[in-house]
C-alpha cells in the first residue's frame, strides 16, 4: 500500500504464490515463478490448508505429532515439497536453487504459520510457508508479515464470491490466473484511465510484455461519447511510456459501460492488467469497484496493480 505510485525497484519486490495441491496448482506455480523471474523478485510460496475445528484442534495436533514419528508429513508440507521440486524443474540452470534440499523436520512455527527452513538458499530468495485457516485472512496475514508486493492466486481458489474480499483486503497487487494456459500466447491488455493506479500498472505491463514478448493493447473506455482530457492524457502517457521502451502498442478507445466493455473486449485471449480502485474503502465495500466487477465477470488471467 505504501509503495503506490512510486517507481519500484524490481530487486526489492516480493511475490507470493498461493498453492493448493500438486494436481491443481501447477500452472499457478509456473506463472508465479515466471513472473518472479521477470521482475527478479523474491518468491514466497504459501499453502493455505483447512483449519480443524477448534474443538478438536488439539487432537489433530496430537495425531500430527504422532504421524511425524512414522515419517508421515503434514499434507501441506507435501505440497510445499512438491512446489520446491517444481521450482527447481522450472529453473534447471539455477545452481543455487538446485542445492536446496527439502527437509520436513526443518520447520519453524512462528506467528501462526509454519515456515520451512531452507538451507543454502542464499541468492535464491525462496520462502515456503504453511498456513491454516480462511484463505483471504491467511493471505492477508502473510502479506502483512512479509511485505509482499504481489499475490498470485490460482483460478480454482478464486471463487467468484471471494473476488470482493481478495481485492478489498489483500494489501498488495493481485494476480488471478483464471483459466490460465501456460502454452497459450496471450495479448497483454492494459486498461487505462485517469486514476492514479494506472501509471504503476503501465510499468508492470511494460516489464511483463518485454520479458514474455506478448503484443500490447491499451483500452480506454468512456461512459460517454466524449473522451476527456484526463482519459486522453492517460492513454497518450501509456503509449509514450511503451514507445520509450521500444514496445509496440495498439490503442483502443471504446464507449459504454466500462466493466462490460472490458470483459467483452478481453474475450478469452487477453491477459488483463488494470490498476486497483482508488475509491474510498467504505464505498468499495458497499458498491464494489471496477476491478472487483471485472474480476468477477471475466475468465481471463488478470493482474490488479496496487
Amino acid at each position: 500500500m505504501t509503495k503506490t505510485n512510486t517507481p519500484f525497484d524490481p530487486k526489492s519486490l516480493k511475490f507470493l504464490t498461493a498453492v493448493s495441491s500438486a494436481e491443481y496448482s501447477k500452472p499457478t506455480l509456473k506463472m508465479g515463478a515466471l513472473i518472479a523471474s521477470v521482475f527478479d523478485a523474491s518468491h514466497g510460496v504459501v499453502y493455505v490448508g483447512e483449519r480443524a475445528s477448534e474443538f478438536h484442534g488439539s487432537s489433530v495436533n496430537l495425531t500430527r505429532q504422532n504421524l511425524d514419528n512414522w515419517n508421515i508429513i503434514h499434507p501441506g508440507l507435501e505440497v510445499l515439497e512438491w512446489a520446491l521440486q517444481e521450482l527447481k524443474a522450472l529453473s534447471p540452470d539455477n545452481e543455487e536453487l538446485a542445492k536446496i534440499q527439502f527437509n520436513p523436520d526443518h520447520v519453524y512455527e512462528e506467528d501462526g504459520r509454519v515456515r520451512v527452513i531452507l538451507p543454502d538458499d542464499k541468492g535464491c530468495r525462496i520462502e515456503l510457508v504453511l498456513r491454516e485457516g480462511e484463505l483471504v485472512d491467511q493471505l492477508r496475514k502473510e502479506i502483512q508479515l512479509e511485505g509482499y508486493d504481489l499475490a498470485i492466486i490460482g483460478g480454482s481458489q478464486n471463487k467468484r464470491h471471494l473476488a470482493h474480499s481478495i481485492l478489498q483486503y489483500l494489501p498488495a497487487s493481485v494476480f488471478v490466473l483464471q483459466k490460465f494456459n501456460p502454452q497459450k500466447k496471450y495479448k497483454l491488455l492494459l486498461l487505462v484511465d485517469d486514476s492514479s493506479a494506472t501509471s504503476k500498472s503501465i510499468e508492470w505491463g511494460a516489464m511483463i510484455a518485454e520479458k514474455l514478448g506478448w503484443p500490447v493493447r491499451t483500452l480506454t473506455v468512456s461512459k460517454t461519447k466524449r473522451f476527456g482530457a484526463g482519459y486522453q492524457g492517460a492513454a497518450d502517457k501509456a503509449k509514450a511510456y511503451f514507445d520509450s521502451r521500444g514496445i509496440e502498442v495498439e490503442q483502443f478507445f471504446l464507449t459504454g459501460d466500462p466493466v462490460r466493455t472490458f470483459v467483452e473486449f478481453a474475450g478469452d485471449n487477453h491477459f488483463v492488467i488494470m490498476g486497483a480502485s482508488t475509491l474510498n474503502p467504505v464505498k468499495q465495500f458497499l458498491f464494489g469497484s471496477k476491478p472487483i466487477q471485472t474480476l468477477k465477470q471475466t475468465d481471463v488471467p488478470i493482474v490488479i496493480v496496487r
Binding site: 474443538f55 478438536h56 488439539s58 495436533n61 514419528n69 499434507p75 474480499s165 474510498n280
Partner: protein, 466 residues
C-alpha cells in the same frame, strides 16, 4: 485509508460476533419473555443461543466464548459470581481435563507400533479382515480410552498401510477411505460403550446427578450400552467395504513392509509396560471406585501417576492439552445447570411436547424421538460433547425415564457420521487431506440408519430385560 480497511476487515472476520451481540441485545431489551417463562430463564436461553452462534461460527477462540457464558450469567443477574464459579467446575470437567491429558500421556508412549503389530497378527493380509480388525480394535479401545486417543494412535498405522499399498494414496482412494473410516467410525461407535469413552457420557452422568435422576455405575453403563457397540461393529465393516470398494483385496506386500517397520521398535520396553499397567489401574479405578470418587478424580489420579513415574513431562501435557475446550465445557455445563435451576430447560421441553404432542400420541415415542433426533442433528453441526452439554438439560425435562432418555441422548450424540466436525476421530481422518466431505455423506447416511435401528432395537428389546 488503511484503518478503514482494517475496520472493514475486522467486521468481515467478526460478523457473527456482531450478529450474536445484536441478537442478544434485541432479545434482552426488546422482546418480552413469554408469560410462563421467568426473566432469569429467558436470559439463560439468550446466553445459550448466543453461545451456540459463536461456537458454530467460531469468530472467537473457544476460551473467549467460555468466559462470555460465565460473565453474562452474572451480568444479567441470573446468579451470583460465587454460584457461577462453583457450577463451573465439577467432576465432568475434571474428567474432560483428565482424559485429554491421559490421551497425550498414552499417545506419547509409542504404543501404536505394538498395536499395529497386534492387529496385523490377528487379521492377516486380506483387506476385508484388516478393515474389520481396524474397526473392532478402534471400537473396543475407544470404549475405554476415548476416541481421540485411539484415532491419534491408529491414524499412522492406517496411513502407513495405505502408503505401502500405493505411493500415491489418491490412486487407491477406496482402500484409503475404507481404512481411515474404519478408524474413525470404529472409534465413534465404540465411544458410547462406557462412561470413559467420551466426555459427553460423563456430562450426561453429571446431569443425571444434578437433576436427581439417580446414578449409573461404570458397569451398569456397559450393561446398558455395550451390546449396541458389539452389534454395530460387523455391520460397520460391511458398510465401509460396500461404500468404498477397496482397489486391492489383499495387502500382502504393504503388510510385510509395515511389519518390518514396526519390528524396528524392538521388544516392548519396561516403560511401555508401566504405561499399560497404569492405564489398567485407572480403568479398574473407573470400574470399582468411580461411584465414590467420581470418574474425573480418577482420571486426574491417572495423570498424576503418569507424571510421577516420569512417563510424560508436564511441559508436554501443558502444550498439547486443549485448555480452551476444558474451559468451554465448564462454562457450558454451568449454563446447563442454570437452565435447569431457572426452569428454562423445562419450558423448552414443555414447548416441544406441546407442539409435537398432536403429531405423536405416544409420550415415550415422542420423548425418545425428540431426544435422539435433536441430539443427532446438533452433534453433526456442533461437536458431540458440546451437544450433550447443551441439549442434556432439555431432554431430561421432556418427561419419562430420565436415565433411559439420558442414555438415548448420549448414544445419539455419537451419530455425527455426516460431517468432519462432530467427532474428534472424524476430524482427525479429515485432517489427512485424503478423505473428502462427500465421503462422510456417502458412508454417513448408512451409518446413521444403522445406528438409529440399533438404538431402537436396544431400547425395545434389550433395555426392558434389564
Amino acid at each position: 485509508m488503511n484503518s478503514y480497511i482494517d475496520i472493514l476487515f475486522w467486521i468481515r472476520q467478526k460478523k457473527w460476533l456482531l450478529i450474536a451481540l445484536v441478537y442478544g441485545m434485541f432479545m434482552h431489551h426488546v422482546v418480552t419473555p413469554p408469560p410462563d417463562l421467568n426473566p432469569a430463564a429467558f436470559d439463560a436461553l439468550i446466553i445459550i443461543s448466543m453461545a451456540l452462534i459463536l461456537i458454530i461460527t467460531e469468530p472467537l477462540p473457544l476460551p473467549a466464548i467460555a468466559m462470555f457464558m460465565l460473565f453474562m450469567q452474572v451480568v444479567l443477574g441470573i446468579d451470583s459470581a460465587n454460584n457461577v464459579a462453583s457450577s463451573f467446575m465439577n467432576d465432568a470437567v475434571f474428567f474432560i481435563m483428565g482424559s485429554l491429558m491421559l490421551a497425550v500421556a498414552i499417545v506419547s508412549q509409542g504404543l501404536d507400533k505394538r498395536l499395529a503389530l497386534g492387529i496385523i497378527t490377528l487379521t492377516g493380509h486380506k483387506t476385508w479382515r484388516i478393515v474389520a480388525g481396524f474397526t473392532a480394535i478402534s471400537a473396543i479401545l475407544a470404549s475405554f480410552i476415548g476416541e481421540h486417543t485411539v484415532a491419534a494412535m491408529m491414524m499412522p498405522v492406517g496411513l502407513t498401510l495405505v502408503r505401502y499399498a500405493h505411493k500415491d494414496p489418491r490412486k487407491v482412494a477406496g482402500l484409503t477411505a475404507a481404512l481411515l473410516f474404519s478408524i474413525a467410525y470404529g472409534a465413534t461407535i465404540g465411544s458410547i460403550g462406557t462412561p470413559s469413552g467420551g466426555g459427553r457420557n460423563v456430562i450426561m452422568m453429571n446431569y443425571w446427578a444434578e437433576f436427581g435422576a439417580g446414578s449409573v455405575t461404570y458397569l451398569e453403563w456397559i450393561k446398558y450400552v455395550y451390546p449396541m457397540v458389539l452389534f454395530q461393529i460387523p455391520i460397520t465393516v460391511f458398510i465401509l467395504l460396500w461404500t468404498f470398494k477397496p482397489e486391492h483385496s489383499n495387502l500382502d506386500s504393504a503388510v510385510r513392509k509395515l511389519v518390518v517397520d514396526v519390528a524396528r521398535a524392538g521388544k516392548i520396553k519396561g516403560r511401555e509396560w508401566l504405561a499399560i499397567f497404569l492405564f489398567i489401574l485407572v480403568f479398574l479405578g473407573w470400574v470399582f471406585l468411580s461411584e465414590d470418587f467420581g470418574l474425573g478424580i480418577i482420571a486426574l489420579l491417572g495423570v498424576f501417576l503418569y507424571l510421577s513415574f516420569g512417563l510424560v513431562e508436564w511441559q508436554e501435557l501443558n502444550r498439547k492439552t486443549n485448555w480452551g475446550v476444558i474451559l468451554l465445557f465448564g462454562a457450558a455445563i454451568s449454563i446447563g445447570i442454570q437452565m435447569n435451576q431457572t426452569g428454562a430447560a423445562e419450558w423448552i421441553a414443555h414447548v416441544i411436547i406441546t407442539s409435537l404432542g398432536n403429531v405423536i400420541d405416544n409420550p415415550a415415542v415422542l420423548q425418545g424421538s425428540v431426544s435422539v433426533l435433536l441430539t443427532g442433528v446438533m452433534s453433526n453441526i456442533l461437536s458431540s460433547s458440546a451437544t450433550v452439554a447443551v441439549v442434556g438439560p432439555i431432554v431430561l425435562d421432556l418427561g419419562g425415564d430420565q436415565i433411559l432418555i439420558g442414555f438415548a441422548t448420549a448414544i445419539a450424540s455419537a451419530f455425527g457420521y455426516f460431517t468432519a466436525v462432530a467427532a474428534p476421530a472424524c476430524t482427525i481422518i479429515y485432517s489427512s487431506g485424503l478423505v473428502k466431505s462427500k465421503d462422510f455423506l456417502r458412508a454417513g447416511w448408512k451409518m446413521g440408519v444403522l445406528s438409529l435401528v440399533s438404538l431402537l432395537g436396544l431400547s425395545l428389546l434389550w433395555w426392558p430385560l434389564l
